[in-house]
Symmetry: C2
Subunit: 352 residues, 2 copies
DNA sequence: GATTAGCACTCGATTGAGTTGAGTGCTAAC
DNA sequence: GTTAGCACTCAACTCAATCGAGTGCTAATC
């Protein structure tokens, strides 16, 4: 969690260059990188010996470390953090419009999101994560009870953004059309236009009182409706490309890969990621977040990095998109692809 | 695909005993099993040399083979087939009621199925697979169009078994309540009680004619409704415990594990399994099927076995449950657990 | 004072020879 | 038909030797 922003002051320009060179190289190869490599890689003409000294300093400062004595260096979480922060503060990278990264419009939001996850995973070779938007701030737009069978009603609820919820309600005894009509009227006059979170227990009790006489059945129906409204717990999280994790030996070998993939099957764990991302975004930070290793709540994920972003579908519905990969993920590409996808989502849904 | 039922005649009693011993042992250990082991394992008092001769015969007949000269034997697909067929024909095994294998009733079918998959995977240590039931033979029970906004209608469709479908329909110009009422009447009188597959193109054109005057808008609305009805393509397949595949070294080492897990993300591939299972069940075969290795269509699965069963939810809605594991899966346990789960599903849904 | 060349040293990874042991096939005796 | 016995096979393991990328340190150079 401790995202201490490294003060640039700590590092002179040369160290920065070397650090970045180390990281870039490691991102590409996945192998510890040695002084000789850097000596050639960078434009600053320095011998490996000099680089060695500088690297030694960088290690002391905690930006890089050696997996074992006498091997090259690899970045620490702090190193990655520095790199990522630097990246983000750079001029907004131009979004490369990839021709194969195009969401086809689909009828259902669900389909669009699944598709987005698939595209993201296929394009980055990491694992993609997309949550359905939360709707509890959205306003109720339409509510209707209909008799489907003698002893069951169907409640249909439409929320701003055209999210539709259904619930079959079993009634102890048959309700006549007239009562249903009145009930519909009652519910609509009182609830329409309210946001889902405003429809709370107090309001429900009030409604029941208004309903008057028939209390028993009616009150149970009202309860059922309330429950259906509240059931925005149906937050879904789609993943795609889980097995992409296998592409990265550093995760594969240590057996972490299995843990990670298991985490993708675990909704609670995923919710953690999604919700922290949403929260941070609420807190007014930049639209994309990067969590590196231990910065993440989930223990199985401590060998990963996650790039998240919050999308918003016009009507204030907000959800999270994420990319999970090894720490040495190609952050630029990940963020670029993400950005491009977000733009498309915006495009598709803004006009409503 | 070639499920040649081994004629028992081919094998004398002793060979059968030895074969079964080999298989049982291999199922447990996962290691090739040698003659000495069998010599002790079985009740028939025979020296390892004799066993050796018999095993040599069994190999010639294609029931077992050696991964390399001078190692124990492991079963071939044919061997497993023999074993499984034998198992199935034995007296119906008593279903062990496991206390930790109990589905909690839930409101939505979806939740129940997801739960079933989870339980199945957790109990067997294999990967579970559950498809939502197909509904195209089910009858339309309720259909309603409502105006939600000036230029959009909501179609709500309820099918036998209380499957609910929704679709927002955008209308070019506003429709007045009266027209909607008539349209509802028209649709209901003509479609109610028909099975989804009976509602075909011909019927739709007929409807459009009946609708008369307003053709343009109305016909597009009718089309949209038809589309919503036909959209029973929303066959979902839930998986659980995908990573259980990693428990089995023979799959892990060869790198097949990744392919298999990838297959679990691929809906088309899963549909193959589900649909062949449904088809076979339709063909009146026993309620549970076992596919071993190459008997399966999916190439990535050729190192697995799959146990499938078809569940039926009272109203004729049928779906598939499956267990995917290594060929050396504990078939008895898998089938037992499956059976127990099916009974529960029956229990939960029969009373309607 | 910063940079560099040079050198001894470290340590994981790779190689290959040698050993072990489970298991087989075959033959001859029971 | 069954069994004991023996030679043979072959994957798996062990262990030492070697390799090589990379370091840290020192002394010379700019």
């Amino acid at each position: 969690m401790a995202k201490e922003k490294a003060q640039i002051a700590e590092l002179d320009e040369r160290k920065v260059k070397i650090l970045i060179a180390v990281i870039r190289n490691y991102l590409e190869t996945g192998e510890p990188v040695g002084s000789r490599t850097i000596s050639k890689y960078t434009d600053l003409k320095l011998s490996s010996a000099t680089i060695r000294n500088e690297m030694s300093d960088l290690e002391e400062m905690g930006y890089i470390f050696q997996p074992h004595t006498s091997s090259g260096r690899i970045p620490t979480d702090k190193g990655y953090r520095f790199y990522v922060d630097n990246l983000m503060s750079e001029k907004e990278r131009e979004i490369q419009e990839k021709e194969d990264l195009i969401i086809e419009k689909a009828d259902k939001l669900e389909e669009v999101l699944k598709q987005a996850a698939k595209l993201l995973a296929a394009n980055t070779n990491y694992t993609a994560l997309v949550s359905t938007p939360e709707t509890h701030r959205n306003k109720l737009k339409f509510l209707q009870l209909s008799k489907v069978e003698k002893d069951s009603l169907l409640a249909v609820i439409v929320v701003e953004g055209n999210i539709i919820k259904n619930k079959m309600i079993h009634t102890e005894e048959e309700m006549d059309e007239d009562t249903i009509l009145k009930l519909n009227l009652l519910l609509n006059t009182h609830l329409n236009g309210l946001s889902l979170e405003e429809i709370n227990l107090g309001l429900i009790t009030l409604l029941k009182e208004r309903a008057g006489i028939h209390t028993e059945i009616i009150s149970s129906v009202i309860d059922a409706v309330a429950e259906a409204i509240r059931a925005d717990e149906d937050l879904e999280i789609y993943t795609s490309g889980a097995t992409n994790i296998f592409r990265y030996p550093e995760l594969m070998d240590s057996g972490k890969a299995t843990d990670i993939i298991n985490t993708f099957e675990n909704k609670e764990e995923l919710e953690k990621i999604v919700s922290t991302s949403l929260a941070e975004n609420n807190a007014g930070k930049s639209e994309m977040q990067v969590y590196i290793g231990k910065e993440m709540a989930s223990p199985a994920m401590q060998d990963c990095s996650v790039v998240t972003a919050t999308y918003e579908l016009g009507d204030g519905m907000r959800g999270t998109i994420g990319i999970v990969g090894p720490k040495r993920m190609d952050y630029e590409k990940a963020m670029g692809t993400m950005k491009s996808l977000m733009n498309q989502l915006d495009e598709i849904y803004k006009k409503k």
